[in-house]
Amino acid sequence: MSFSEQLDSCSCVLLRLGERRFALAAEQVAELVAPSRIFRFAHRTSQIDGVILRRGRVVAVCDLAETLIGKRLGMRRFYLIATRGRQSAMDWVALPVSGECELIQADLTPAGASDSPHVAAWLSHDGEVIEVLNLNALTPGLVPAPAEPEARA
């Protein structure tokens, strides 16, 4: 069952980008880490800033701020490491966020046909209506169904 089909009460992580807050399903969040060294190399995927090393794994850093709030983050306080895809083709992305994150339980309202593809659902928290993000629509490189070739030694 996909995330969008199981919309009811759900654990979500609230994240802050600039002045705005967004949410991710908690099951998609691996961890929140302090900014670490970012490694940059030549590539052509514009949404990707570079990569960070986390527990021996190379994780792509994907800045969502430009897409979601129209400007890049001036200050990055943390990286929220999120997962995309399913079991065999699970992929990790590091999302720069500008404030501490908060785990909440909230009732979700399904996204409507007129909502942007990056909106998986909506939730209401502290009098604020917040977008629950669809990472697959928001980050580049959809995870393919068949497994990628294994890393070689």
Binding site: E31, F41, A42, R44, R57, T83, A151, A153
Partner: protein
């Protein structure tokens, strides 16, 4: 949910690599892919100018036997700022030579991680993957990623009319695979 550590790679097989610089960025290439290292100066007189606007990262060709080798400017290939190249890697079993700034060092890698799926454009062809050396992430280039079959055809058509002087290998450093 905790981030699982990267899956252990077993058994550890090592691979000799050359770290090289182009436009102040470091790349790695398998030393087994490099047949010869030459100075740019040694190519003077042995290379001809090639001008194919659709493949502007190639400006020179070298005649080897009955084939042309095309010299790819690595900085232009990766969209980096132009830099003063001093060395040429002639690739093994390939029609490509690489114009680079300098060799950093030769070393050994024990692990090659796949490029994260979020990278979804030309870089998937450019790189075999990423390796971690001294807590730094280095992209490992794919020798096949520098020129496509179509680009080679364009270059062949363009240089067919030009007379290429044969290249001497005397000024090069042969690398054993």
């Amino acid at each position: 949910m905790r981030l699982k550590p990267a899956p252990a790679v077993k058994p550890l097989r090592t691979e000799q690599i050359i770290l090289f610089r182009s436009s102040n960025q470091i790349f790695a290439i398998s030393s087994g892919s490099v047949q010869e290292v030459r100075s740019v100066d040694s190519l003077a007189g042995a290379a001809i100018d090639v001008s194919e606007p659709r493949v502007d990262k190639v400006r020179h060709a070298i005649r080897r036997g009955d084939r042309n080798l095309y010299v790819v400017n690595v900085a232009l290939h990766f969209g980096l700022t132009f830099s003063a190249a001093t060395l040429v890697f002639v690739l093994r079993k390939s029609r490509v030579a690489l114009l680079i700034d300098a060799i950093d060092k030769m070393t050994t890698m024990t692990m090659l991680q796949a490029l994260p799926n979020a990278f979804c454009h030309e870089e998937r062809r450019w790189y075999r993957g990423l390796t971690v050396l001294d807590q730094s992430v280095i992209p490992v280039v794919s020798p096949e990623g520098f020129l496509t079959r179509d680009e080679l055809s364009l270059l062949d058509a363009r240089s067919a009319t030009a007379a290429l002087p044969p290249s001497s290998s005397a000024a090069g450093l042969e690398l054993n695979p």
